[in-house]
């Protein structure tokens, strides 16, 4: 009986791990594909799938044969003991010696490519060229699927990266500062309308920001704020404040009352108490929200698109434009996607614990 139970347990554990590994593989493969692709030379990307960088069997060209002029390409064609029509040759025909003959290009080439199915090891032709090309705003050249050289202006993701920093860092700190002041006010100071105002903040937590885009854009156009960093900081502050205030209020209102009272008795002003006592004590809550807000700003597309547009473009806008304009340039798109992902991934993996805490506290927000 005991032994049977043990076996059941083991089978259960096996299946549990099996299912989880399967799900994790499905989760990771798309990202791995993009990561590998971003390091492959552009010509290779257009020709073969990214999985061909792993050892596999492939038809390798070993010879090229040009048929003599007197062969009628419109009738049956004979080569290597096989006779077939052009279309069949085009698809490739297995010859008796184990090699494969495939017609190259159109009828006029009269060329057959002879290839052999061989094992191919790990691809070693990897490059950083795609990253260089996508980061620069200068002219770049690369080869397309047919080997033609293409010249065009780079997408300047390097500049976009800096812009994203200029949007995200103040866009994270400013609302936190304002929210911390407000949370302290709501938690510890008495003033008329306190209840009403806070109820409105709770209501604003899930208001879709689409509601604000048209009116605020009108204001920005008349104030000349459209396309400026100040404009987008203000917008992100406005949209982030309800959650920030709510989270920080929940935290600050639970700080021990005696601590503040003794500070008041010592004659400290509200401002001193806030800067010297509340802010240092609230660091965990501030950090949680900061990571939350930073990731949200870095990854934001809609707000940046509306208020910044192509002037001062952020990485998300640059990547989205690249997808829109050059929808088949996978060597650029994959590298760009990784450039846009690298910073949030580092922040996220390094500070996951804080992020999760913020997530739990903020799960009322949409």
């Amino acid at each position: 009986m005991a032994k049977g139970q043990k076996t059941t347990k083991r089978t259960q554990s096996f299946w549990t791990n099996f299912v989880l590994i399967l799900i994790c593989v499905i989760w990771m493969v798309p990202v791995i594909g993009v990561l590998i692709t971003s390091f492959r030379p552009s010509e290779d990307i257009f020709k073969t799938g990214w999985w061909t960088v792993f050892p596999h069997k492939e038809d390798i060209e070993i010879d090229r044969v040009v048929l003599p002029e007197d062969v009628d390409v419109n009738g049956p064609i004979t080569y290597g003991g096989k006779t077939a029509m052009f279309e069949e040759w085009q698809r490739g025909i297995e010859l008796d010696d184990g090699t494969k003959a495939t017609w190259y290009g159109n009828k006029r080439t009269r060329t057959l490519v002879i290839s052999q199915n061989q094992w191919v090891g790990f691809a070693t032709k990897l490059t950083l060229e795609n990253y260089k090309d996508v980061l620069t705003g200068k002219t770049i050249t690369y080869k397309d699927a047919q080997g033609n050289t293409i010249t065009r202006v780079g997408n300047n993701l390097g500049g976009a990266f800096l812009n994203s920093l200029a949007v995200s860092i103040p866009g994270t700190i400013i609302p936190i500062l304002i929210a911390a002041f407000a949370a302290f006010g709501f938690a510890w100071l008495e003033f008329p309308g306190r209840n009403i105002f806070f109820t409105i903040i709770v209501a604003l937590l899930v208001v879709p920001l689409q509601i604000a885009l048209v009116p605020i854009l009108q204001d920005y156009v008349s104030l000349g704020l459209n396309g400026t960093f100040l404009g987008i900081w203000l917008a992100h502050t406005g949209f982030g404040l309800p959650l920030a205030t709510y989270l920080l209020f929940n935290y600050i209102s639970t700080l021990p009352r005696e601590l503040l009272e003794s500070a008041y008795i010592d004659g400290a002003s509200n401002f001193t108490i806030f800067t010297n006592l509340i802010l240092p004590l609230s660091v965990p809550a501030l950090a949680s929200f900061a990571i939350f807000q930073f990731l949200w700003l870095w990854n934001d597309y809609l707000v940046a698109l509306v208020f910044l547009g192509e002037k001062n473009q952020t990485v998300t806008i640059a990547v989205a434009r690249l997808v829109g304009e050059k929808g088949q340039d996978w060597h650029l798109m994959t590298a760009a996607a990784f450039v846009s992902m690298i910073l949030p991934l580092i922040v996220f993996l390094a500070l996951q614990r804080y992020f999760v805490r913020g997530l739990m506290a903020g799960s009322v927000k949409g």
Binding site: S13, T16, V19, I23, P30, G33, V34, I45, F46, K47, T48, W51, Q90, L162, N163, A166, P170, I173, I174, L177, I178, A182, F184, G185, L189, E190, F198, T199, V202, V206, V207, P208, Q210, I211, A212, L213, V214, G224, L230, G238, L241, P242, T245, N299, Y301, L302, V323, G324, W330, M333, S340, M341, V347, F348, L349, Q352, L359, M360, S363, G366
Partner: protein, 380 residues
């Protein structure tokens, strides 16, 4: 704070420094300083603003100035306002000071969220340019136009399938991972897409779905089509096949949101008392029964919160659709139609009506949030 200290009269007046300090203490000085300090603050901030809007300095330098100016400016504004308020007579200062703390937040939220609700509501009854009243025309469009009906259908698909798969998978993974040794590894892998932007996720999945077209000697470079061809099928332009393309987009949402559901639900599952589970197992309950009869009822509240959050997310979905299909091929959603109406067709009336529809859709959640907040804090 340093400036405020200058007001305390110095005990020995015989040096020049003390005289200056004393002068600052006089009423005239107080008034002058009260004007001067905000004026200087304003000029500094204004110069920074001009620099940022007009300068042609190297980008990295501009960015650093922008960061210092933005963050420092806000801190400075608080400092100066508080200092000014403290200059007032004690009673006035006490009444006004709370507003120094909460005022900016209320003002910004009012400008960016509360007042826009009213402005959008008004705009939704006016024409495209906002010059004339059009009654309910925009709402008639919003609720009857075939374009809008398509977006409602698609958002319903996102809501039903996106939410149920995200929550279901998240719950499954949380439950299974809880009983393995490599729990942290599994959870990190599933959770990591949360750090990726929807635009980045769009690129990743567009590459999975990519289609090269049919022809001789063409090797598919998209994973899905490669798998389909390897299994003997015909490659398809997946994102162009309505209505199934909606599901290919919803997969991306599931990929992004499952991690969120998993993390929250995982901590809820860990909160189920061990004795409860032990007792059930001793009574001979199978793992399936433990899951459905003990764990699920125990985490019901969390399950509801997670579901609500993801439902709201699915209603507001925009970036994925925008990047993947632009809303073409029958994949349009409400938020994308809003974007098209306001920024492509420049129809502020219709756009506002659509925004109000979005607001109406989340209203039950708003009401519920307020209700539960008031219950939590009776003595607020």
């Amino acid at each position: 704070m340093n400036l405020a200290q200058a007001n305390t009269p110095s005990p020995n007046n015989n040096n020049l420094f003390a005289k200056i300090v004393n002068w600052f203490g006089s009423t005239l000085g107080k008034i002058l300083v009260s004007i001067l300090v905000p004026a200087v603050t304003f000029i500094v901030l204004w110069q920074g603003y001009l620099f940022l809007t007009e300068a042609n300095a190297p980008q990295i330098f501009q960015v650093i100035v922008a960061i210092v100016w933005g963050v420092g400016g806000v801190a400075l504004l608080y400092l100066v306002t508080d200092w000014l308020v403290m200059k007032l007579p004690a009673k006035a200062a006490r009444t006004l000071q709370p507003f120094v703390f909460v005022g900016p937040a209320i003002a910004v939220m009012g400008w960016f969220l509360a007042i826009p609700v009213v402005r959008s509501l008004i705009a939704s009854f006016r024409n495209a340019l906002g010059t004339q009243w059009v009654g309910l025309d925009n709402y008639v469009y919003a609720f009857t136009n075939p374009r809008m009906l398509e977006t409602f259908r698609n958002n319903a698909l996102w809501m039903v399938f996106g939410t149920s798969f995200s929550v279901g998978l998240g719950l499954l993974i949380a439950f299974l991972a809880d009983r393995t040794k490599a729990e942290v590894v599994y959870k990190s892998i599933i959770f990591t897409p949360m750090a990726i932007s929807f635009v980045g996720a769009g690129v990743i999945w567009k590459f999975v779905y990519t289609y090269k077209g049919t022809g001789v000697g063409i090797q598919e470079i998209g994973l899905l089509n490669a798998i389909v061809s390897a299994l003997g099928g015909t490659p398809q332009p997946w994102l162009n096949i309505a209505p199934w393309n909606n599901f290919f987009l919803i997969v991306i949402m599931i990929w992004l949101q499952t991690g969120y559901a998993m993390v929250i639900l995982s901590s809820a599952i860990k909160g189920v008392p061990a004795e409860l589970l032990e007792a059930a197992r001793i009574d001979g309950a199978t793992e399936t029964r433990v899951f459905f009869n003990i764990i699920i009822p125990y985490i019901k509240g969390t399950l509801l919160t997670v579901t609500t959050t993801i439902v709201i997310f699915s209603l507001k979905t925009f970036d994925i659709v925008r990047v993947m299909t632009g809303g073409n091929y029958g994949t349009n959603v409400i938020a994308n139609e809003f974007y098209l109406q306001s920024f492509t067709y420049n129809d502020a009336g219709k756009a506002s009506a659509i925004a109000i529809v979005l607001l109406l859709l989340v209203t039950p959640v708003i009401v519920n949030n307020i209700r539960s907040f008031n219950e939590q804090r009776k003595g607020f």
